[in-house]
């Protein structure tokens, strides 16, 4: 094949490999059994047709399954899936596979299998073409006068740059400006803490030592009992819905934990009067990237985030004991209201959730 090359290498290719062994050239074509044995040939032909017929059968079975099996009745009939799903997937899958197998079998056994050779061409255009292009380019540029008229050129570049402004400014209404929104939650002085499922307020004595409770500020959970809801309305509680509810839930969720007061370590950022009889409330939103934290290690008062395993010590002001989170969990100061429920002394004194550029973490 590749013998007798011209020595010159204008095609920008590596020299043909002829040493230490010369290229012996393409091996002769070897006939397949289907090429020399008419019986093998006919057998292959029948096999290909059989695959296509099998495909047709599967397609018909798909239609049968579609109309006879109803997913509404059963969603867990077979390997955790509905019978309809399994039957439709299997029949459609096989119908398609058999077409593919049939065609490839045909190609391998019966279509011509003589390899042919094609010359490559250099990726670059010929020297003449390139020169002609360059000539056309410079003629065009010359005629436009863009080089001789810098005033036009520069103002045009300027205009093209400025027209980018409307494109960017036009996106301004994608969302409101952040403002101080990330620093606020619905928690404020005397906000009741309620259970996050039933919406009922919590008395300190209802929590045993070691109990962990997922909680919300009153107003984020519609109470199960209408009585409580009415009573809430009478105190001016506003029950949030829709987007507002989702936004507040992603900031205001808290965790209540009761521990032995002797296990607690107090500090400036977690003073003693923020907890009630060993009950503490911390933000449930991880200071790493904002997953709700939920896994409690009862013995150690450690709380683990299931997303990236940041671990916080609730007995020690929410300190990070392990993982990628850089800041302690914000603590909600607690007190007991006059009617004996757990309420907030104030809102959080720092923004909850993940860090962001404007956050003043000191």
């Amino acid at each position: 094949m590749s013998e007798n090359h011209d020595a010159e290498s204008s095609n920008n290719l590596p020299a043909p490999i002829e040493e230490p062994i010369a290229n012996p050239g393409l091996a002769p074509h070897k006939p397949r059994p289907t090429d020399i044995d008419p019986r093998a040939e006919r057998r292959a032909e029948r096999q290909v047709a059989a695959f296509f017929i099998a495909s047709m059968v599967c397609a018909v079975l798909f239609c049968v399954a579609y109309f006879t099996l109803d997913i509404k009745d059963e969603t867990d009939t077979f390997i955790g899936l509905g019978a309809s799903n399994v039957a439709l997937g299997a029949t459609l899958g096989l119908a398609l596979m058999f077409i593919g197998i049939g065609i490839i079998h045909w190609a391998r056994k019966l279509m011509g299998d003589v390899e042919i050779s094609e010359q490559r061409h250099p990726a670059a255009s010929s020297e003449e073409d390139r020169e002609a292009t360059l000539a056309a380019l410079s003629a065009g540029l010359e005629e436009s006068g863009i080089g001789r008229r810098p005033l036009i050129r520069n103002t045009m570049i300027g205009a093209l740059g400025f027209v980018g402004l409307p494109l960017i400014v036009g996106l301004r209404d994608l969302g409101p400006l952040p403002g101080k929104k990330l620093e606020r939650t619905v928690w404020k002085k005397d906000t009741r803490i309620v259970r996050d499922v039933t919406g009922t307020p919590v008395r300190p004595e209802q929590l045993e030592v070691g109990d962990l409770m997922n909680a919300q500020p009153e107003g984020l959970v519609t109470p199960h009992s209408e009585e409580i809801e009415k009573e809430g309305h009478s105190r001016g509680v506003e029950y949030l819905e829709g987007v507002d509810l989702q936004v507040e839930k992603s900031k205001s969720s808290v965790i209540l934990l009761r521990m032995e007061p002797k296990d607690q370590t107090f500090s400036k950022r977690s003073p003693e009067n923020w907890s009630v009889n060993g009950i503490v409330a911390f933000s449930k939103i991880c200071t790493h990237v904002g997953c709700p934290i939920s896994l409690n290690e009862q013995q150690s008062h450690h709380l683990l985030c299931p997303c990236h395993q940041s671990t916080f010590d609730l007995a020690d002001g929410g300190r990070v004991v392990f993982g990628p989170a850089a800041r302690p969990l914000p603590q909600l100061p607690l007190k007991i209201s006059e009617d004996g429920y757990l309420v907030a002394q104030s809102g959080f004194l720092e923004p909850v959730g993940p860090s962001y550029w404007e956050r003043d973490s000191e």
Partner: protein, 585 residues
Amino acid sequence: MSSTSNVAGSVASTNGTTASTAKKQGRGAKVVGWADERLGLATAAKKNLRKVFPDHWSFMLGEIALWSFVVLLITGVFLTFWFKPSMAEVQYFGSYSELNGMHMSEAFKSTLDISFDVRGGLMVRQMHHWAAMLFIAAMLVHMARVFLTGAFRKPREINWIIGGVLILLGIVEGFAGYSLPDDLLSGTGLRIADGMVKSTPVVGTYMSFFMFGGEFPGDVIVPRLYMAHILLIPGLILALIAAHMLLLVYHKHTQWPGPGRTEENVVGFPMLPVYMAKAGGFFFIVFGTCALMGGLLTINPVWKYGPYDPSKVTAGSQPDWYMGIAEGMLRIMPPWETHLWGHTLSWNIFVPGEVLPIVLLAMVLAWPFLEAWVTGDKREHHLLQRPRNAPVRTAFLVAMMSLYGLLWAAGGNDVLAVLFHLNLNHITYFMRGAVFIIPVLVFIFTKRWCISLQRHDNEKLLHGYETGIIMRSPEGGYSERHLPISEESAYTLTARDRDEIYVQGSDVDENGVAAPGGKLAGLRAKLSLGMFGDNVQKPTAEELEEGHHHAEEEHALEAGLDHSADGHQFDGRHEVEGEALRGGH
């Protein structure tokens, strides 16, 4: 061509003795004529219909990616008929009774409806998800193939970049699609994405508010992601795939070197019929595989996770596998944060979430240019290299693969801890060191492995292959019998260029003056030595001659003992004309 050596008359009736030439046909010609008078396609088609594609199993990997994308388009269109990209709150009353009465977004409800009220809906949803997995996996493996065989070299660097961008787009597209059902898991994924966005210095908070139309989660992210998922990103992917394929056709496919296969030609089957049949048939196999998986293998059962609630999370949350390395980086990053002048910079999120993924991709994408600069090679390359013959390149990719694997494992550190009863913290500490140490070890190990494989090739060339026949000399010593390999195999083994190591100051300008080169040239010389210095070069003609001479002598000495085990004469390296098994079978 070689086909003349066929035995005349002994070919399947469909098989010509030579490659067929187009014949004029009655009706076909009419149709072609009608179309050509309007479209003028015959000029392009005449070359391309019989365009040659070389055959090798590894050339199929990109095809899997292509066909799984087609499956994604088909199944995706089906899903859009029922999916409602809205975050409006509705109450569910439907076929899946366990969630009856729950409040959820319309997106989640319509996903449940597709799964439980549209016949075949769940199968198509699962097909779509499986095909997405397959799409990204196939792209990555295809990229590894291209890298390991040096197929990215000139003139294919641009296609290499396009491929890298396609992988990035594929991952973003996958994440967008994963987020659409608005289930608990995907909502948590979006929350993590929001945390990453917020960690961007200066503009992060604004980016987050503009993305979510206000504070997370807002009620616009699902419709916006839907637009990106079904229009913007697939449009870009489609355009880039078209460019990728056009360049492939223009450059013609690379091929493995071998007898008759050179830099100047491409040897294989013509597009029509063989390649078209094989590739077209393969589409049905990929499609069928996706359908079988969609029918038989559960993926992303969102009804079990429930609708998104920002105050809830499931233990053992895992993203889709292709997000695993970002997840791993996020998990093992130490808790570093800087507070300065009332601002917070979260290295612990910004670096693994935004910087490192881009750096890793950029490193891989920049390799062709680095290698071309080090070798100074401006020639076109159409013959593939065996991975062993580019030990440093191979070792680099395998080291990157080990890093990928480690980060991936780190992304499931909680799962590993539960599975193997290990301490989660220990796994994390181990991974923090391992991601730096193990890739280096893997690099060294792979490089040495490649070089020893190169040595093995030279052994085969010089001393022949190991026959497995153990011989005892009259003195009682044992040795293994070696026989020469065939000329074709020998040529294939030697069909590579000798590596040239760049030496600083070796560049000579037009006037014959050596260019000093400066610091960069020094770096280039060091890299060149590092990349190619340890490689084993193929034997020269003289060495080969000497080796054969030596082998012949040995052969002569052993001639008297030449009664190997029966059957060895049929090893494909001997003439077997008229041979029969000894022992009267």
